[in-house]
């Protein structure tokens, strides 16, 4: 085993030499830059290697943002499978969830502005055909008569097409059902974006623009740690929170109680109650993606 590892490392070193010319200006020749370049897939790192990576990243963030960041790698807890409920009859389209998410999850603020939740406005009377959905509605006050609002984010599919297509396994479904991305492994091919039927993924087309003052320092390696340019990212149900027993930020902030969250494996959870007692549906169920995101109308 040890032997195999060192041989792999050797091959990697060789390939690094061969590819150094290709990587041009995007890499620095510092020790940290070299380590970053050679960093293994998250699943292939030993615990010590993970610790080293965390230390390196924390140093990097300290330098960049002047703040000590706590990067967790807390794994999924056995017996959990996270599910989400969204009450369409309550949503007023205020987009507070969108901005709470941006803040919690350290998205790029402007140029480009990245958002994991999209709230679309639909004329009453049509729900499934999204072709007339209004993405950039901007009235003085919400809600508006004659319209309903539908927030959409990554639906954490149990059968996720985005994971199937990734050519390098940079994205996968963790045991608690959360689909995550290793930002240091993603090659930025954007195949997953083409495959997702819900627009659940967004891309860092440029270096993220995150003011140091607004950095959330409680982060998870597979979740809201600051990202780099040209990698893909997505909603993780706030992995950094839910694995510590807290609610996702969007659930907490919603002023109307539209958003519900819980463990699908726990028969007493709120989400299980909703599924059993409300008439829930999932978006584009005909795709067989088996989302763990349930829409319903309480009234």
């Amino acid at each position: 085993m040890e032997n195999r590892h060192s041989r792999r490392d050797f091959i990697k070193l060789m390939s690094m030499g061969a590819l150094a010319g290709l990587s041009l200006g995007s890499l620095s020749c510092t020790k940290a830059g070299r380590e970053e370049f050679l960093q293994k897939h998250f699943h292939e790192m030993t615990e010590t290697e993970k610790k080293q990576v965390i230390r390196r990243l924390e140093e990097k963030y300290l330098k960049k943002y002047g703040k000590q960041v706590q990067i967790s790698t807390q794994p999924a807890e056995a017996g959990t499978l996270w599910g989400y409920g969204l009450d369409l009859s309550r949503c007023i389209g205020c987009r507070r969830c969108v901005y709470a998410c941006v803040k919690e999850n350290n998205q790029s603020r402007i140029h480009p502005q990245l958002q994991w939740i999209r709230v679309i406005r639909l004329k009453k009377g049509s729900l499934i055909n999204l072709e007339n959905a209004e993405h950039y509605y901007n009235p003085e006050t919400v809600p508006e008569p004659g319209f309903m609002y539908m927030p959409v984010q990554c639906q954490q599919c149990e059968n996720p097409p985005c994971v199937r297509v990734c050519p390098v396994n940079a994205t996968w479904k963790d045991p608690d059902g959360i689909v995550v991305v290793d930002y240091n492994w993603c090659i930025g091919c954007r195949y997953c974006m083409a495959a997702c039927p819900y627009k659940g993924r967004v891309f860092n087309w440029a270096e993220p623009n995150l003011p140091a003052g607004e950095l959330n320092t409680e982060v998870h390696y597979l979740g809201n740690r600051p990202r780099m340019k040209n990698v893909v990212e997505k909603c993780t149900f706030c992995i950094q929170r839910v694995r510590q027993g807290r609610y996702p930020a969007c659930v907490e902030v919603c002023p109307t109680g539209t958003r519900k969250f819980g463990n699908l494996l726990d028969p007493n959870s709120e989400i299980r109650y909703l599924i059993e007692n409300k008439r829930v549906f999932r978006l584009k169920e005909d795709f067989n993606t088996d989302p763990k995101f349930y829409y319903f109308f309480s009234a």
């Binding site: 995007s26 679309i120 990734c166 050519p167 390098v168 091919c189 860092n204 087309w205 990698v231």
Partner: protein, 416 residues
Amino acid sequence: MEAWRFFKKTVNMVFIGTKAYYLWCAFLLTVIGVAVIFYVQQLNAGLIVTQMRDQVSWGLYIGNFTYLVGVAAAAVLLVIPAYIYHFDPIKEIVVLGELLAASAIIMALMFVFVDLGRPDRFWHLIPFIGSLSFPKSLLAWDVIVLNGYLVLNTIVPIYILVKIYFGAEPNKKFVIPLVLLSIPWAVGIHTVTAFLYNGLAARPFWNASILAPRFLASAFCSGPAMAIIIFQILRKTAGMKIKNEALFKISELIAYSMFINLFLLGAELFKEYYTGTIHLAPLEYLYQGLHGHHSLVPWIWSALFMNVTAFVIFLIPKTRENLLTLNIGSLFIIVGVWIEKGLGLIVPGFIPDPLGEIYEYMPNITEISISLGIWAFGLLIFTLFMRIAIPIQRGDFIHSRFMKPTSRPQYERIEP
């Protein structure tokens, strides 16, 4: 000794030529230089310098990639008619076809490479070293079949050329199986590339079973059309002997393929328009415009016009066998299929996006310059390949022990 001589002569052939040759190479190098500047900028700033966005996350690069995979596939498939109809210089056509395929594949791979956000992590795609997700991801399949195809299409011509250089007949037992292997492989690369898009349920425009057959049919048009032009250029500039009849035969084949291509297009249009479900939207965007967005409409109609015109030209023996109309037809097909399979295939896949948003994509100067640079690079390596391959095949560039004092090389200026 001999190796050194080979090397010296090769360098001579590459660096010394006619004025037209110099101009051509200088032109290509300039285009490449401009592309490098833009690419460095793209590396530094990120893909934000392109017009691609979350809604339309692939664009001109991936469109060119798709088109070139088709050219690469078809270039090799030319070998079949060459054998069936006994085109005169079969060996030359095999070598030429495979070198054209190799150049096209190199270009195709470069297009994928410039499209990658993180080229520094390119090694993640290398089997065993990185973690190539084979067989789950179709992109992983494509990486494997394309690279295999590249190797196949460089081994065969190099082997044949080296043999000829040493004055020996290429060993048929070695060459024929490889050439035969490259034929299904050519079909394979194009099918896998079609499946890359085809396998995405989220994109109804691509998720139609007609996609792979249409890919093949249109490739059988654009690849041979390119060959017709290249054969004529080489006939003029390098004295390659190829008869008009061979060109006419190829154009006849194009007519059949174009018929199938247009037929499949008709089948697609019928199904979408007659049923008129919400899956019609991308086609509507492409051919008519959708909710006031119609930037691709003029493009696709020009493509259709060019393809139909070329079909008629190639169908009628009189126009097919006239070099002028033949060339017009070929150019029409090269451009027409490029539009149809480049922007016309990739962009509508994303419009409207899965949540119904419409973002109109048109490549900007960065994407256009980088794309032109890759095309120029491909043409440059193909030119250099030809520069060496043709004299070897003609017997002008051979092992020193065969050089008779009387045999005058045709390239006056090549001899130092």
